[in-house]
């Protein structure tokens, strides 16, 4: 089976029903994408498939039909994506475990909608849980990131 992740092509030999999450984490050693619930309830596993946010914990790897981007492929500490830069500026993360998924959901939202309203943010982010309750800062950081993207 072939899989393109963060611009790199991989040949993998796994069961077709293995969720993409576990291919990323255990087979490709990309631990930035997190395991939270295993049933698309918390959003910690969110990645992009051709730019759209998907929950990798319930996506069988053989149903992956496009290029996958994980948080590691979105930006790097020395080259932050606009969303990551806004997150750092607003000091959003607390425990930080959900933030890979939050950031991937936010980046997908902004790619489609560069000027989201609070209601747009609620809708796009409703699948991402944060037990530390960083929601107020997540919302503020998404508005900031939108400004950064529009100004770029």
């Amino acid at each position: 089976m072939k899989l393109t992740v963060n611009g790199k092509s991989h040949e993998i030999d796994v069961e077709p029903e293995m969720p993409l999450l576990w291919v990323l984490r255990d087979e490709l050693n990309l631990p930035g994408t997190k395991f939270g619930c295993g049933m698309a309830q918390c959003g910690a596993c969110t990645v992009h498939m051709d730019g759209t946010a998907v929950r990798s914990c319930v996506m069988p790897v053989d149903s992956v039909s496009g290029a996958v981007t994980t948080v590691e492929g979105l930006g790097a500490p020395a080259a932050l994506h606009a969303v990551q830069a806004a997150w750092v500026e607003r000091q959003v993360a607390q425990c930080g475990y959900c933030q890979s998924g939050q950031i991937m959901s936010a980046a997908a939202l902004l790619q489609k909608n560069p000027a989201p309203t609070d209601a747009d943010i609620d809708e796009a982010m409703s699948g991402n849980l944060c037990r530390c309750g960083a929601y107020p800062r997540i919302r503020a950081a998404i508005h900031d990131a939108a400004k950064r993207i529009r100004a770029a």
Binding site: G32, F35, C37, W87, V88, V92, Q94, L129, R131
Partner: protein, 746 residues
């Protein structure tokens, strides 16, 4: 302040006594002692100045003795040391220290004695002092109870100042100048003639200097990091997926494992059939554990699948197995035979109640799961006669000792590497998952094993926040509370937890009644009685512990008393408060929220005050009601931390507490059938999501009193302030959590 300074001096001497006792700070001398834990795994060419500061070729590393679980403690502790050591913020690295006696948590253990956080009487101080000794004898390196800052505010600054003193003294020797003529500047010592010696080049000589016991600390006016909002040291890593949580630890040749335990936690496994599971792809080994089975495989998901394929026959637990039976046991314990404490008995409650119109109410709260975002996990590797463990733990000393026991090793053969936690909330004070990982490491000797729990296992195998029942009676006179009698029954989390880590529970468990007996309300006739329900299903500490329900009981009931007399509930509390910083936070929240100004039809507001871990906090919740249900619009919070070290982080912690408290208030509930939790994942154990999160405005006050942490403070008042707002908007008084049992939310 005299007392604080004295504690700092004594605790610092404990921390580095062997160093001082060794005459010199010399790296070779110190290597022979055990007191400075950095020397266990000290790198070649590194110099350890005090247990908190290491200087090596990569620069200055601050060793934090407490675990990072989201509360920002690594950043604040780094700022405390950096402030006095005088190093540039971007040159600092932070590492978690190994389990060691030098890192024990004195403030937390002191907190658990049955005296109020505001009680500074001689007896109370003596009791705290005795517990401090206990902590020293039973070294517990605990992260919890909002105790970090109180415990380490002086210790970390003294560590930084002492290390700076030694570096300056070393420079003075080298330059042949008196130390008084030298200054420090961002990691270097500066001579008057402009010569500059870096800390790195001075470190070896500095290690030979005797450390001062109480070096002078900077006055607040000179602070450049403390009191400022510092960029968190873990922020960039957490925003780029490069932070390593326990679940992310990867070692060469690693085995991926999971467990499946009796959902009636603690009960036995009668028999199991793993025939089908063993034949599944990637499965390496299946073993029996006390109360369950473990599957080792070449991929976590394969381990998950195989564990579900094992047929298990579970034994019944020895404790009540249904919610109804568990609550019945709690109600039944509200009797003299199970009385645990009466920590407040002011005036004559019985007489006062006999003389007035008595308001009586019963309140109830359910069991709660911690539901950290990162499920429980640990990596363990038995090799070369020692056991290495990587895990997110709030009590690494207990994890080490219990893991050593099951592996048949001495504690000094076990090395716990504490990694970042994807949430703790008290759950990670219980090292059951670490013990399991150690057992798997023994079974796979030579190979590192990563144990990961499925979310369903995490929910089922939690040590829950226990349910509690309260009965309250009160009277008013002259439009003020005249008598308050509160009785609270609940299982003891301290008894449950300490039993598991092999420590005796000492005396009454104040946690059952904390937040109900210790509030700074000047009620003439006030009695608080706790009843300890006989131990049932294992339970443990949860963010703000007893405060999490006692604030709901007291603050709802005070609201009822105010409503009965038609008195403004905020003004009634203001008149009751005897503690000036508490009055100030309540006044502040009144001003912030425009308390008293009329609201539109369908809207409502409620207030709650609470003193939690010595921190007064007041919240006003504003809601809108409609056909669809209640919407929480805004929460205003005022809090007094004594001294605010990092305002932006304090705001985050308080907001976090409010959301955590609201999640529990709206939805949080674990119920049982056949001893097993009926909730398994976030679909049936919901927590607040983005669209439900209110705007939260936080004001941090500084009375200048003892410094306090706020990891828990935001939690307790959230539920009663919301319930009071619902009463204000609808006239409906809800005396049971979760609120959604009685009202819909948008």
């Amino acid at each position: 302040m005299g007392k604080l300074a004295d504690i700092a001096r004594r605790t610092f001497l404990i921390g580095s006594a062997a160093v001082v006792g060794g005459v010199a700070f010399g790296v070779y001398k110190v290597r022979q002692t055990a007191a400075n834990p950095l020397l266990d795994d000290r790198r070649q060419g590194a110099t350890a100045l005090t247990p908190y500061v290491r200087i090596d070729g990569r620069g200055v590393t601050l060793i934090t003795p407490r675990a990072e679980m989201g509360q920002g403690i690594h950043t604040t502790l780094a700022a405390l040391v950096a402030e006095e050591l005088d190093v540039a913020w971007d040159s600092i690295r932070v590492e978690h220290g190994p389990p060691a006696a030098a890192y024990y948590n004195r403030a937390l253990v002191e907190h658990n004695v049955p005296v109020s956080d505001l009680d500074h009487s001689l007896g109370a101080e003596a009791m705290r002092g005795a517990m401090g000794v206990m902590a020293r004898l039973l070294p517990m390196q605990i992260t919890g109870g909002s105790s970090n800052v109180a415990d380490l505010f002086d210790r970390m600054r003294v560590a930084g100042a002492a290390a700076r003193f030694a570096l300056v003294a070393a420079a003075a020797q080298k330059l042949g100048l008196p130390a008084a003529q030298l200054k420090t500047d961002n990691g270097s010592v500066l001579a008057p003639d402009g010569r500059r010696l870096t800390y790195l080049e001075l470190a070896p000589a500095a290690a030979g200097i005797d450390l001062p016991a109480s070096p002078p600390l900077k006055p607040r006016e000179q602070w450049r990091y403390l009191g400022k909002s510092m960029p968190r040291v873990d922020m960039v890593a957490k925003c780029t997926g490069t932070a390593t949580f326990g679940i992310d630890v990867r070692l060469p040749d690693m085995v991926f494992a999971t467990v499946r335990m009796n959902p009636a936690k603690g009960a036995a496994l009668v028999k199991f059939d793993a025939t089908a599971a063993k034949a599944m792809r990637g499965v390496l080994k299946i073993i029996e554990l006390p109360g369950g089975v473990a599957v080792m495989a070449d991929n976590t998901w394969r381990a998950f699948q195989a564990a579900q394929a094992v047929k298990c026959d579970w034994a019944e637990p020895a404790y009540p197995t249904s919610t109804a039976a568990m609550v019945e046991a709690i109600v039944a314990s509200m009797a003299e035979k199970d009385r645990d404490s009466r920590l407040r008995d002011d005036g004559n409650v019985d007489k006062a109640l006999a003389g007035g119109t008595v308001l009586e109410a019963e309140y109830r709260v359910p069991f709660l799961a911690h539901a950290t975002m990162e499920p429980m996990n640990a990596v363990a590797w038995l090799h070369d006669g020692k056991l290495d463990i990587w895990a997110g733990v709030q009590n690494p000393t207990a994890a080490r000792d219990l893991a050593a026991k099951v592996a048949g090793l001495d504690a000094n053969q076990v090395h716990v590497h504490v990694v970042l936690m994807g949430g703790g909330f008290g759950r990670r004070l219980e090292p059951d998952y670490v013990v399991q990982a150690a057992q798997l490491a023994v079974a796979m000797a030579g190979k590192p094993v990563k144990l990961t729990w499925r979310r369903e296992e995490d929910m089922a195998q939690d040590f829950y926040r226990p349910a509690a029942v309260a009965r309250l009676r009160g009277t008013t006179a002259a439009r003020q509370v005249q008598a308050l009698d509160v009785r609270v029954a609940s299982p003891s989390v301290a008894e449950s937890n300490l039993g598991r880590i092999g420590l005796p529970a000492l005396g009454p468990d104040r946690l059952i009644i904390e937040g109900a007996y210790d509030q700074p309300y000047g009620i003439a006739n006030h009695r608080a009685t706790a009843y300890r329900t006989p131990a049932g299903r294992p339970v443990t500490y949860t963010r703000s512990v007893g405060n999490s329900y006692n604030a709901f009981f007291i603050e709802s009931f005070v609201d009822e008393l105010a409503a009965q007399d038609g008195v403004d509930p905020l003004n009634m509390r203001l008149a009751l408060l005897t503690h000036e910083p508490s009055r100030k936070v309540l006044s502040a929240v009144a001003a912030m929220s425009g308390w008293g100004q009329p609201l539109a039809a369908g809207r409502g507001r409620g207030v709650a005050f609470h003193l939690c871990r010595g921190v007064p906090v007041a919240q006003v919740v504003e809601i809108t009601t409609s056909k669809e249900g209640v919407k929480i619009d805004k929460v205003f919070v005022a809090v007094d931390v004594g001294t605010a070290l990092d305002p932006r982080n304090l705001e985050a912690q308080v907001q976090s507490g409010v959301i955590f408290g609201l999640s529990a208030a709206l939805y949080g509930e674990i119920t049982f059938a056949k001893g097993a939790a009926e909730q398994s994942n976030f679909h049936d154990y919901p927590v607040l999501r983005m669209q439900q999160a209110p705007r939260i405005v936080v004001k941090v006050l500084e009375s200048g009193g003892p410094i306090r942490g706020v990891g828990e403070t935001g939690v307790p008042p959230a539920a009663p302030a919301l319930a009071n707002a619902i009463f204000n908007a609808t006239g409906k008084r809800i005396r049971e959590l979760p609120l959604r049992r009685h009202i819909d939310f948008v």
